[in-house]
Subunit: 114 residues, 2 copies
């Protein structure tokens, strides 16, 4: 994976469960248990996803009695956003919106993608 900040962030984002967790936390603070419920996955599995997100500085876990109060640290995404932004100028010429792009790739490779 690489141990630098950007690698950790992008790696954390490369899993659908972890992205979903971030989306849930965008709705406000939640306990580890709350975060487990929407997934058909054991609590330890979620716990380790939370650790990955925490180490990437994308969330924060505060101990509150036997609960872990998890909250989003959206500013943790800034390095990733900044890295990607280097490339915006390249695509801005040809595609003005994501929809443009998605239509374009659907037109071409019409395989069973997402």
């Amino acid at each position: 994976m690489g141990t630098d900040t950007l690698s950790q962030i992008f790696f954390a984002l490369s899993d659908p469960t972890r992205r979903k967790i971030l989306e849930l936390l965008a709705g406000g603070e939640k306990s580890a248990g709350d975060l487990s419920k929407p997934f058909s996955m054991s609590a330890p599995a979620i716990s380790r996803h939370l650790k990955v997100l925490e180490q990437a500085a994308l969330i924060e876990r505060k101990v509150d009695a036997q609960w872990r109060r998890c909250s989003l640290k959206p500013e943790g995404l800034m390095p990733a956003d900044n890295w990607v932004s280097q490339y915006r100028k390249f695509w801005a010429d040809r595609f003005s919106t994501l929809d443009d792009y998605l239509k374009d790739i659907q037109k071409k490779g019409s395989s069973t993608d997402e």
Copy 2:
């Protein structure tokens, strides 16, 4: 990793060698051999990194005699950019620039990071 588009893109970006390759390609089309030179890594290793980037639709490889002409497909980053952009509003309040954020985290956790 997950097999959906976003997972593939973020996973591709989670490796420093692959990010470096994209940066090299931002300077213009290069052969697989050209791309190998800056790295202390075998050609097959680079070849597989290129495959990961190609499958994530971040680069294109065209066959030209015994060369593979690799070029950046920056628009492949659009889905990632779009996903991250959901969170911009959250950090925009507190941090206006990446530097603000980097200074902030240096101030606090002054451990041996990166």
